[in-house]
Every structure is written in C-alpha cells, then in structure tokens.
C-alpha cells in the first residue's frame, strides 16, 4: 500500500488539477453543448430538440448585429493595436532616453480592468461635459463628437478604448522580439547601404512573423471575449447597436431566461475561439518539439 502510494505520488499530486479542469472546463463545455440542442427556457430541459436553437440564433436580428459588430471591432482593434504597437516598439528600440518611463506609460492600461477603462472613457467621450465641450470651450463652436450616443458610431468608441488598453501589450511583444535579434544583422545590412526603413521593412519585420502570429491570436481572442468594456462603456446601446456575442450570451441567459438559445450562442463563440486557438497550439507544440 505504502509502496503504491510512493510510486504514484506524482500522479496523485497531479490529480486535482486534471480533475478540476476535466470537470469545470471539458465537462461544462459538453454540458453547454448538450443544452444548446434542447429547448431549455428558464431551467434546463434534457430532452433533445435538434438544431432549433441555432436556427433561431442565426435568424435573430440582435445576434446578427452582434456578429457584425464583432467583425468590425476585431478588424479595427487588430489593425490599430498592431500598427501602434509596432511603431512604438521600433521607435523605442532606437536607444531612446527615458525608455523605461515611456514603456511604463504605454503599458500601464494593461494593469487596469476594462470596467475602470470603460468608466474613464465614458466620462471622456460623453458629449455634454467631455471632449466635445473641451473643443467648444477652446473656440471650435461647431465641434461635435457624439459617437458614444450615436447608433452608427458607438461601436468605434469601444475600439478607441480597447486599443488604448491593449496597444501597449503588442508593443511589449514586439519589443521583446526585436531585442532578441542579433545586432550584427542590422549593422551588416546598414553597411550594405540599407537605410533604417529598409532594415526594418525588409529584414526585421519579416523575422517577426511568430510575434505577428502571437499578437493576432491573442487580440482576436480578447475581442471575441470582450464583454466588460461594452458593459462599462455602452451597455450594448444606444438601443442594441453595440451588442457583441459575449453580451448577447449573458443577456439571453440571465435577463431573457432563454437558456437553450444562450447556450447555442456560447457554443458559436467557443467554435470561433477554437478555430483560432487550435492551429496556434498545434504550431507552438511543433516549434517546441523541434527545439
């Protein structure tokens, strides 16, 4: 008995982690998947109902708006975060004075919660006392900036706040990537007559492909899951104009008591994330095995 215990101790120690994740991650996802095939309303029902919830979901105007918003948000969020992140990383990489201070400033938003970020930006963007008033008081009398309460534009306020929060993170990833490149490569290229722009555009950025890939995966992942920022900034409004899938899921489950339908929306989100993550994990694993 004691011998057996000693021999299997590592596995016994490992068991809580595996058990908890097996139950609370895999078990729960399967439960959600099952429920998405039932006609559950307030309480879960367990007789199968087919793909009715998915048909209902893709016929719902609100869900389609949510998916539309997600695509717009993801595209803009990705582009701005990556462009700003790369510019900052390259510029910081030029033996800048006070680099530490600047880096700290660019990255501190990552330490804040999306609720804090949303609260701050909501105040800054509010038309009565925020930026709009600032410009009017400065003498631009016809200046209007009402995106926060404008159905067409509200989604872009979420982009502004989201980019503000996450661009520094991309900067940190690229800076780490650039710093890992041998100095000699850059110097040799310069002697061959390449200017700084060419060095980065033709040599260094192509070398950063894994960093691009990582940033892409993480940013898409953040955007599919974005929930807090929308709650704090717009609550999905005005109307339902800034609804996103994560918000749709919780509202459908906990306010509208449509458990089956919300499970279906959760599974759509799950599949979207899996489509991005599984290739990523696969390539990471291959890279590690190759080492």
């Amino acid at each position: 008995m004691f011998k057996w215990l000693e021999k299997n101790l590592p596995k016994i120690v490992m068991a809580p982690a595996v058990g908890l994740i097996g139950w609370f991650v895999y078990g729960f996802v399967l439960w959600t998947l099952y429920i998405s095939f039932t006609n559950s309303k307030i309480l879960p029902k367990y007789e199968l109902w087919g793909v009715g919830q998915y048909i209902k979901l893709w016929g719902s105007r609100k869900w389609l708006i949510a998916v539309d918003n997600l695509l717009i948000f993801t595209a803009l969020f990705l582009i701005f975060c990556v462009v700003i992140g790369i510019i900052l990383a390259i510029f910081l990489d030029q033996k800048i004075r006070a680099e530490g201070v600047l880096r700290t400033i660019y990255l501190y938003p990552m330490a804040l919660s999306f609720i804090v970020t949303g609260t701050a930006w909501k105040w800054i963007l509010n038309p009565t006392l925020g930026i709009q008033k600032m410009f009017i008081d400065w003498g631009f009398e016809n200046f209007t900036f009402d995106w926060l309460v404008n159905r067409e534009m509200a989604i872009y306020t979420i982009v502004i706040a989201g980019v503000w929060q996450s661009a520094g993170f991309v900067m940190a990833l690229f800076l780490a990537g650039l710093r890992s490149v041998e100095d000699e490569i850059v110097k040799a290229a310069k002697i061959d007559g390449a200017n700084l722009f060419t060095v980065y555009w033709k040599i260094l950025l192509p070398m950063m492909r894994p960093v691009f890939f990582t940033s892409f995966v993480i940013l898409v992942h953040i955007s599919i899951k974005s929930y807090d920022l929308i709650v704090a900034l717009t609550q999905g409004g005005p109307g339902i104009s800034t609804t996103m899938p994560a918000l749709y899921m919780t509202q459908t489950a906990f306010h509208k008591s449509q458990v089956g339908l919300s499970a279906a929306s959760a599974m759509m989100m799950f599949m979207a994330v899996a489509a991005v993550i599984i290739p990523y994990l696969y390539s990471e694993l291959r890279r590690e095995n190759a080492r």
């Binding site: 120690v13 097996g22 991650v25 729960f28 330490a111 609720i115 993480i218 489950a253 989100m269 694993l285």
Partner: protein
C-alpha cells in the same frame, strides 16, 4: 570579421549624423505624442476626482482643479451616510481582498505542483496532460457560465465570496500550470535525478531543490493571478451581485445607478480606487508583470 563590421559601421554613423539628428527629433516627437494619448485618461480621472461638480461644469476635461479636494474620494469609499441607496466601495473592496487572497494562493499552489510533476516526474502522455490543461487558458468563459451558475447553486455557494474563490481558483490553474511548467523545464533535471538516487522523496525534492530557486516565477504567477482576479468582471457580475459582489461589479453598479444627478467626480474617484491596487503592483513590480504578460502570452 566582427571588428571589420564594427569599424566600417562607425564611419557610416559619422556620415549620417545630420539626418540622424532630424530623425531623432521626429522619433521623440512621436513617442511623446503617444505618451500623451496613454496618459490622458489617467490625468483626466485624477483631476476630475479632485474637482467639485461646479468646477466640472465650468471647466474642461483638462482644467486643473482649484485645490486638493478629496471629498469625492471619501464619498466613493465610505458613502454619504444616509442608509438605503447610498452605494460606496469600502465593503466591496474587502470582498475583493477576501476573494483574491485565497484564490491566488490555491491556484498558485496547484499550478506549482502540476508544473513540478509535468517536468520532473514525467510520465507517459504527460505532454497530452499539459495540452489538456493548457486549453483551459483559451476557452471563452461564456461556454461554462450556465453550468457553473447551476453548480454553485447546488453547492449552496452562489452569490458568495467562497463561490468566487472556487471559480477563480479553477480557471486560474491552466495559467499557473503554464507558468511553472515553462519555468521548471529550464531547471536541469540532473539535480533532481541525483537527489532521487540519494533517496530524497517527492516533497523533499520540491521543497529543498525547486522551491528555493522559484522566487521569480512565484512572483510572476502571483502578480498575474492577482491582476486577473482583481480585474475580473464576468464571473463577479454573473455569480455574485448583492452584498458579496467584488469591487469591479460594485464600481459598475455605482457608475450606472442613475439616482439624481450624475456625479462624475465620485465616479472617477471610484474608478481610481478600483484600479489602484493593480496599478501599484504594476509600478512596483513592472518587470514581473511584463514577464507574465509575454511568457504567458495567452491573456483573455
């Protein structure tokens, strides 16, 4: 060869001194402009929290406050003292502390053990076990919210701090395991093998050999978990809405409550209070914070 590159590089540097000078000014200009963009919201939050509502209506976002007036901070923290409808952060701040400390401890401990086994007591299929755990970093939590809500209900710990401790411990394990596993991989296994030959057991090896060198990764993990759990809103708002709510939920409720006139100064003071613990950690231990971000690079 290296020397040759070096000396011809020096010549090149001399030649392009003037273009360089212009370039450097441009560089600093862009960097400073972005610094303003990133600092701007924090600046606005701080000055707004120090103004009276009268000052807010008269001035602009950027106007400097007339004095150091901490009234709205006191209101945000302790309320106005009139019973019902008086929302303030103090009790929820403590809820968050009570939630964060045990959740960080348990998830870090479990992750350390898992990382130790996965690297130093390898068994058949351990790679798959790691992948199995790692996938937990990425799942959108919406896919587990419904069964989790029911489970907490069945266990009788929904709407309580204990329930949130359980949730955060569980969903922290994939991250903590990842951190410790990646750290222990880099520690030579020969030490462990030698100790095993000398007859040292599982726990003795962990406490005598690995734990003493683990300080950096423990710091990284604690900071990561602390930031994640402190900043969480999804779990907090779904599983705990009343008295047991954590601070982010309370902050959101406070800002959204539309009783009487909107008090932006109190809102901003509340937001700062909710953000200050993680900001302090970031400023004091930024190096470890960034290490967590980039090595764990799987944030959600």
């Amino acid at each position: 060869m290296q020397d040759k590159i070096h000396s011809s590089y020096k010549q090149l540097e001399q030649k392009s001194k003037y273009t360089n000078l212009f370039l450097r000014w441009f560089l600093y200009f862009v960097l400073v402009v972005f610094a303003f963009y990133f600092i701007f919201p924090l600046y606005v939050m701080v000055v707004t929290s120090l103004k009276t509502m009268e000052e807010i209506r008269q001035g602009t976002l950027l106007t400097w406050p007339s004095g150091l007036n901490f009234d709205s901070w006191l209101v945000a923290w302790g309320g106005r003292g009139y019973g019902a409808g008086d929302t303030f952060l103090k009790p929820y701040f403590w809820n968050s502390i009570k939630m964060v400390v045990p959740a960080v401890f348990f998830s870090t401990f479990i992750g350390a053990m898992a990382g130790y086994v996965l690297t130093k007591w390898r068994f058949k299929g351990d790679k798959w076990v790691f992948l199995f755990l790692l996938f937990g970093c990425f799942i959108p939590y919406q896919a587990i919210l419904l069964p989790m809500a029911r489970t907490l209900g069945v266990l009788g710990i929904s709407n309580s701090v204990i329930g949130l401790v359980l949730v955060h411990t569980v969903y922290g394990i994939p991250f903590t395991t990842l951190f410790f596993r990646n750290f222990y991989v880099s520690i030579p296994s020969e030490l462990v093998k030698a100790a095993r030959i000398d007859g040292a057991g599982f726990f003795k090896i962990f406490f005598k050999i690995l734990l003493p060198v683990s300080t950096p990764i423990i710091v990284v993990t604690i900071i990561w978990q602390f930031t994640q759990i402190w900043n969480d809103f999804l779990f907090g708002s779904t599983f705990s809405f009343g008295e047991a709510a954590p601070i982010q939920v309370a902050l959101n409720n406070m800002v959204l409550s539309s009783t009487s006139v909107k008090e932006y100064n109190v809102d901003m003071a509340s937001a700062i209070i909710a953000g200050i613990p993680t900001l302090i950690v970031y400023v004091l231990a930024g190096k470890y914070f960034i290490r967590g971000l980039t090595s764990g690079a799987v944030k959600g």
